[in-house]
């Protein structure tokens, strides 16, 4: 019996080993096919890949891109929507959904999806450019109504679709958000915006996986060789090169710049205090205090606009009846001097209902206050 099992085990291992490099290669092959306009072949390639590896998100994403390019808009929308739901903080599915909705002339939906992408990635150039175009298209429609002009049916809005996706497979963890190892799009690479030079700080190469993406591509003046060397190397074709553990947080020595006047330790304390205030406001049904914990560019998700979400929360938070909200074991992950995420176990109890979830708040520092820009829950 023992002898029988070994060949199976070896075969399985071999298969795993074989698929790894193969699928990395076939992803980029598929991308090339798409660039060449050979969508059918690209789809075949990707389908084969997915048969062997049905959970490969890069492949799923690329599949949707191919469908979109072929004009299978509804299928592509469905696929990107599924990816957006599974990876709510990833800008790429959101961006591409916007592209497709804009193609259909639904500029309002396009706007909401792009604003969602921007809320988690304010420096994401593609979404930024697309959003400008969508605003212009929306404005053109509104002007034609206001001034009673004939509106040309073809507004010629051509948004940029993104062709690769690097969403972390480990979506439940805080570091999925801290994971800034986003790849450059495979086809014409768009340079990431460069943050202004910061106070040069020593740092260890091991931290690069958690560095805010904006400081990566253009080496800062005081960059060490280790930094520039790791930057290009960490453009994965398939998934992140590092596998951060859920409990990992940025070490205290990480160079989060001091220019804004808050040391990492101070930032952490401020963030935890903000989360505590938020939970307290919620539990004591202080609707204004609760809503004030959210930034103006908070993106609710679920297709709700901000005013709709606010109205819903007003109702639900303000509903009479005692509630208890507890934040357990919060883990703060600093991404930039003004950006962080916090993950914790959230328990909610009211007379009729109680639950526990793993909650992640993406926080942004505006005018010295840490405010919530995204809020997501996962089952425990």
């Amino acid at each position: 019996m023992r002898l029988d099992r070994r060949p199976v085990a070896i075969a399985a291992l071999a298969a795993a080993l074989i698929t790894l490099p193969v699928h990395a290669a076939s992803i980029s092959e598929a991308q090339t096919l798409i660039d060449k306009g050979l969508y059918k072949q690209a789809l075949q390639q990707i389908d084969t890949l997915l048969d062997a590896n049905p959970d490969n998100t890069q492949a799923k994403f690329l599949h949707a891109v191919a469908q979109a390019r072929m004009g299978q808009t509804n299928a592509a929308i469905e696929a990107f929507a599924a990816l957006a739901k599974a990876y709510p903080d990833a800008p790429e599915p959101a961006n591409n959904l916007a592209v497709l909705y804009a193609q259909q002339g639904d500029y309002e939906k396009a706007r909401r999806w792009l604003e969602s992408a921007m809320s988690t990635h304010p420096a994401y150039a593609t979404a930024h450019r697309n959003l400008g175009d969508v605003y212009t298209a929306l404005a053109a429609v509104a002007y034609s109504r206001a001034l009673e002009q004939e509106q040309s049916s073809d507004l010629g809005v051509d948004l940029e679709m993104v062709q690769s996706f690097s969403g972390s497979a480990d979506r439940g963890s805080a570091t999925a958000l801290a994971q800034s190892a986003r790849s450059q799009p495979a086809a014409p690479s768009q340079p990431r915006p460069v943050m202004p030079a910061r106070n040069p700080e020593p740092f260890e190469p091991a931290d690069t996986a958690d560095k805010p993406l904006a400081t990566r591509p253009a080496p800062a003046p005081a960059a060490t060789p280790a930094q520039t060397a790791t930057a290009p190397a960490s453009q994965p074709a398939a998934g992140p090169t590092t596998a951060p553990t859920p409990a990992q947080t940025v070490p205290a020595t990480a160079p989060v710049a001091q220019s804004a006047g808050q040391s990492p330790a101070e930032a952490r304390a401020a963030i935890l205090a903000a989360v505590e205030n938020w939970a307290r406001a919620w539990a004591s049904q202080d609707v204004e205090g609760y809503l004030n914990s959210y930034a103006d560019n908070f993106y609710p998700g679920d297709g709700l606009s901000l005013p709709q979400w606010k109205a819903q929360r007003r109702q639900r938070v303000g509903k009479p009846g005692d509630i208890a909200v507890r934040v357990v074991n919060p883990e703060v992950s600093l991404q930039a001097e003004d950006r962080a995420s916090v993950t914790f176990r959230q328990t909610y109890e009211s007379i009729n209902y109680s639950d526990q979830v793993s909650k992640t708040l993406t926080m942004q520092r505006n005018d010295g206050r840490w405010l919530i820009v995204r809020e997501t829950s996962q089952p425990l």
Binding site: D133, L138, A142, E148, D296, N297, S305
Partner: protein, 398 residues
């Protein structure tokens, strides 16, 4: 971003609006206007995201609201960091119209009558008038007011368009809105109306008796709605009619009684505090009380002093003839005169003029004549000799 929004929004001088909204506390306002003004407020406070999302929702609900569309469009372009479009020939007119509309709507929000203020045009209302409409022609605002124990109280107010040539109709075809106190003569429903008039119309009795004295001509002055391709019209857009949105006309319909409801068109509307209103009212109450007393008098000169030299009656009689008829009638000196249902209007458009309407009951104190009752309007003017009647007529309303 603020700086980029030239043209439309800087024209509103929004920066001066540091004060919170001063709208009449309990007055009803139509929803699209409230939402638009709220969005402008948000913009003014720097809440650009809220302004944009609220405007986008408003436009979904009311895509024909042209002003909301242009504010939204300008904000979007400003946010995208792109220049506002150049105004071409025909469209620059439309842009200016929209800017003017924004200005009047915003001005109203900044400065509205207090809840207990009295319009100078309506000092006292008889019970028979449950509601009155007062239009501020200068500020493009139509007020629906309820008769609260004789005093008018604002129930709702709406943005209103007036004649394209402005205020002060004199002649047929001059495309101006008249100034005066009128009443609604009838109601014309949607089915009877060309699309231009929207979902309903309330004709008023221009020219009224006083207008005819001044030789004013023209007809067809209505309060009506809008064609369904738009939510509302520019501040000066009609041939003289007062135009409101179809929603607002629908609201008004529940309160207006054809044949009865007074409609005031004013170019000099003031909102008086209770003390000032009482003072003006009481002065005129004294005036009409004195007139009543002198009307009963056997001495014709007592009545005569109330009538101006240039008085003319509704059938064209001048002062001397008119007073002679009264003095010569069998009733003279043998009667009691009772006045009821007194309404006092500060007549718009003149420095000191009032319209006092009442039911006049004349009771014979001998058996020489029949008691009589009539509804009358008297137009009084104040000059150096005090208040005097310049015109008198039967009241045209039911």
């Amino acid at each position: 971003m603020r700086g980029r929004l030239c043209a439309l929004l800087s024209g509103l001088s929004l920066s001066m609006a540091a004060a919170a909204s001063a709208e009449t506390r309990d007055a009803f306002h139509s929803d699209p206007e409230v939402r638009l003004l709220d969005a402008l407020s948000q913009f003014n406070s720097g809440d650009y995201e809220d302004a944009l999302s609220d405007l986008s929702l408003l436009i979904e609900d009311q895509p024909d609201f042209r002003l909301a569309n242009i504010v939204y469009a300008d904000l979007l372009l400003a946010k995208a960091g792109r220049p506002l479009p150049q105004s071409d020939g025909p469209f620059s007119d439309k842009r200016s119209e929209l800017l003017e509309e924004a200005r009047v709507r915003w001005s109203h929000r900044l400065q509205s009558p207090a809840q207990d203020a009295t319009p100078s045009a309506v000092l006292t209302l008889a019970d028979r008038y449950e509601y009155v409409i007062v239009v501020d022609l200068v500020r493009n605002r139509l007020y629906l007011m309820r008769n609260d124990g004789g005093q008018p109280e604002i129930v709702a107010d709406f943005y209103a368009s007036i004649g394209v040539q402005g205020i002060g109709k004199q002649l047929e075809g001059d495309a101006k809105t008249p100034i005066g106190v009128y009443h609604v003569t009838e109601y014309k429903p949607d089915e009877e109306l060309p699309e231009l008039y929207g979902n309903g119309a309330f004709p008023v009795n221009y020219p009224n008796s006083l207008d005819r004295v001044f030789g004013r001509t023209g007809y067809g002055i209505w309060v009506h709605g809008v064609p369904r391709s738009t939510y509302n019209r520019a501040p000066r857009a009609s041939q003289g009619c007062v135009v409101v949105s179809n929603d607002d006309l629908e609201t008004l319909r529940d309160y207006i009684r054809p044949g009865i409801t007074p409609v005031v068109f004013s170019n000099d509307l003031e909102w008086l505090d209770p003390a000032e209103a009482a003072e003006r009212r009481n002065r005129l109450v004294k005036v009409i009380a004195q007139w009543r007393q002198d009307r009963e008098s056997a001495d014709p000169s007592r009545l005569a002093r109330h009538y101006a030299e240039d008085f003319v009656s509704s059938n064209g009689q001048e002062r001397r003839e008119y007073l002679a008829d009264i003095a010569d009638s069998p009733a003279a000196g043998n009667m009691k005169v009772r006045l009821e249902d007194i309404s006092i209007f500060g007549y718009p458009g003149y420095r000191e003029m009032a319209l006092i309407s009442f039911t006049q009951r004349v009771y014979s104190t001998t058996s020489k004549f029949q008691d009589s009752e009539s509804r009358r309007q008297q137009f009084w003017r104040k000059d150096d000799s005090g208040w005097q009647v310049i015109h008198e007529a039967e009241s045209p309303d039911r």
